[in-house]
């Protein structure tokens, strides 16, 4: 993990309130992998104060990027992230221009497993969880993942950023795009319409709001699949030092750190009961 000053290479809106930002990556640092995240310091004043964590949504290796990095350590790749405009920090990020510097701590956290278990991986995404699932889908392209993305309504689906050639089911709460209902509803419908699919599906990977993660976990349990979830929690240090970002887990320790042991966890480890009270 390094404290980096990277160069913004791209920024575009991908859905209502959602943006994709791309920034340079040092040639001598291992590329980020799906599930890992980084933190950004926005501005230099006392507010917003804390660094903000974001998951990587993609990475493109490349050739040296002009004016990014130093001659000794040129930047050769582009890392990307899809973020939602929520409060002061993300608001301010939408105003950052190509060429500006981004203060980044990266790469952080425990990624998704490098190889999925047998079968077509099922990737379930919603809200700010879409970014990492797009990256995971891309990296497992050859394994024919099934990607399911849910949103409140059409406008919030990152249609601009969807991958080509990956089977993707979209669903919305209001039915304005794809089927109406949750991602799990969509998954169940797909399985019941196509029993072959159901048999072919392997383990489950989810990132999104906690209720979506809990539902993915329950679905996986019922269908005897493994499930990995990528969790969120307000962070202090993001490097494992402050014990601020913990979630309740089963096991000898009552809590695990989202920034170190996570953000990706085997869903069986999570104490979903305990989490609800948080």
């Amino acid at each position: 993990m390094k404290h980096l000053h990277l160069t913004i290479l791209s920024q575009r809106q991908v859905a209502e309130g959602y943006y994709e930002i791309g920034f340079s990556w040092p040639h001598d640092l291992a590329p980020p992998v799906p599930g890992q995240f980084f933190t950004v310091r926005v501005g230099s004043g006392p507010a917003p104060l804390l660094r903000r964590p974001f998951a990587f949504s993609g990475f493109t290796a490349g050739t040296a990027i002009p004016d990014a990095g130093t001659p000794d350590s040129p930047h050769t790749g582009e890392a990307r992230c899809i973020y939602q405009k929520r409060g002061p920090a993300t608001q301010s990020m939408t105003g950052m221009a190509v060429g500006e510097s981004l203060d980044v701590l990266a790469p952080l956290g425990t990624a998704f497993p490098e190889h999925p278990e047998q079968g077509r991986p099922v990737l379930i995404a919603g809200g700010v969880g879409v970014g990492p699932m797009l990256y995971l889908a891309e990296s497992w392209r050859s394994l024919q993942p099934l990607l399911i993305i849910g949103a409140r309504s059409t406008a919030f689906l990152p249609l601009e950023a969807l991958p080509n050639g990956i089977e993707t089911i979209l669903c919305t709460d209001d039915g304005s795009h794809g089927s109406q209902g949750t991602t799990i509803d969509a998954l169940n419908t797909a399985c019941s319409q196509n029993p072959d699919l159901s048999d072919n599906l392997g383990s489950v990977y989810a990132c999104g709001p906690n209720p979506m993660l809990a539902a993915s976990h329950r679905w996986a349990l019922e269908h005897q699949r493994t499930c990995y979830v990528s969790m969120e929690q307000t962070m202090g240090c993001a490097v494992g030092a402050c014990m601020g970002c913990v979630v309740p887990v089963h096991g000898p320790q009552p809590y695990a750190r989202v920034c170190m042991e996570g953000p990706v966890f085997d869903s069986q480890l999570i104490d979903w009961e305990g989490l609800q009270h948080g």
Partner: protein
């Protein structure tokens, strides 16, 4: 990285020992050091104060444990730590290899817990010294309950003093009517220094869910928002006691640290800023040395001499 600036001796004497320079990292914001190892050379630190260590492991408080406020951070970690035994086996090996002073922040519910932890650490480690946390606002007993009572502070300090020749630093709470009274009690009890301040009692409410954001309701407020409170506390305390004062609270950069030194601090600790600018101590150490060189300050007391 830090340049050498001739003529300025950054060392500070605390009891029987020296801190090599005035910039340490505050308890609870730097884990047990290893977390930051890849970011900069920890040996350059003027002190590494560990997360609080208690006799037995503690899970810490319910979640969420943190919330940002204007210019500040409220935390409710609740002394989550691995306990004294696992500290010795899991954390100490890394710490013992560092060249910088390592100070364990000791906490407990009862005075006896503090003392047993101290005795255990005295037997199993060779630390630079101890910082006694009688000012944690995030636990029901111990912590602040002791630190707001001068009698208890004096007697606990005295018990520490009897059991160790290493520096004993008492960490003061700002949540008191007269912080100088507590500082004097620590001095009378035989403390080698006081650190000030710990966090302020603070609270935030989730207006969408009509409940406190933190399950424990209140937590500890840190960050730039509290710097004026820390400066005022150091200014007062350093005029009330003879022992060195270690200034803490809202330091974000070298200028903030210099404010503390001018106010009367002999050293400082960076807390919340470690989350924001994890290698900031490097530039703070350097910034202090530059300032000292520019103003012909020979050593830390030179900062106090310059102040009017």
């Amino acid at each position: 990285m830090a340049e050498q600036h001739t003529g300025f001796d950054p060392a500070i004497t605390i009891g029987s020992k020296q801190l090599p320079n005035p910039v340490g990292v505050a308890s609870g914001t730097f884990g047990y050091g290893s977390e930051y190892d890849s970011l900069f050379d920890l040996d350059a630190l003027g002190g590494l104060y560990t997360k609080a260590v208690t006799l037995e492991p503690r899970p810490g408080n319910a979640i969420p444990r943190m919330i940002e406020t204007p210019g500040g951070l409220i935390n409710s970690i609740g002394l989550a730590n691995v306990g004294s035994r696992r500290f010795v086996t899991e954390k100490y090996p890394f710490l013992s290899r560092l060249a910088c002073p390592v100070i364990v922040n000791v906490a407990g519910s009862q005075p006896e817990d503090y003392l047993e932890t101290l005795e255990y650490l005295e037997q199993h480690t060779d630390l630079w010294g101890y910082e006694v946390n009688v000012s944690c606002p995030n636990v029901k007993c111990g912590g602040q309950a002791i630190g707001t009572d001068p009698k208890q502070v004096e007697s606990l300090t005295r018990e520490f003093r009897r059991r160790t020749t290493r520096p004993v630093i008492i960490k003061l709470s700002p949540n008191v009517t007269d912080i100088t009274e507590i500082a004097r009690a620590a001095e009378t009890g035989g403390a080698d220094a006081v650190s000030c301040i710990n966090t302020l009692v603070g609270m935030a409410i989730d207006i969408h869910r009509q409940r406190p954001v933190l399950p424990m309701a209140t937590g500890g407020l840190s960050g730039p928002a509290i710097k004026p409170v820390g400066i005022a506390a150091v200014y007062r305390v350093s005029r009330a006691v003879q022992i060195p004062v270690i200034g803490i609270g809202g330091i974000m950069n070298a200028d903030d640290a210099i404010e503390y030194l001018l106010a009367g601090a002999s050293a400082v600790q960076t807390g919340t800023v470690n989350f924001i600018d994890p290698d900031v101590t490097v530039s703070i150490i350097d910034g202090i040395a530059r300032y000292a060189a520019r103003h012909n300050i020979a050593n830390i007391s030179g900062f106090h001499g310059l102040f009017s």
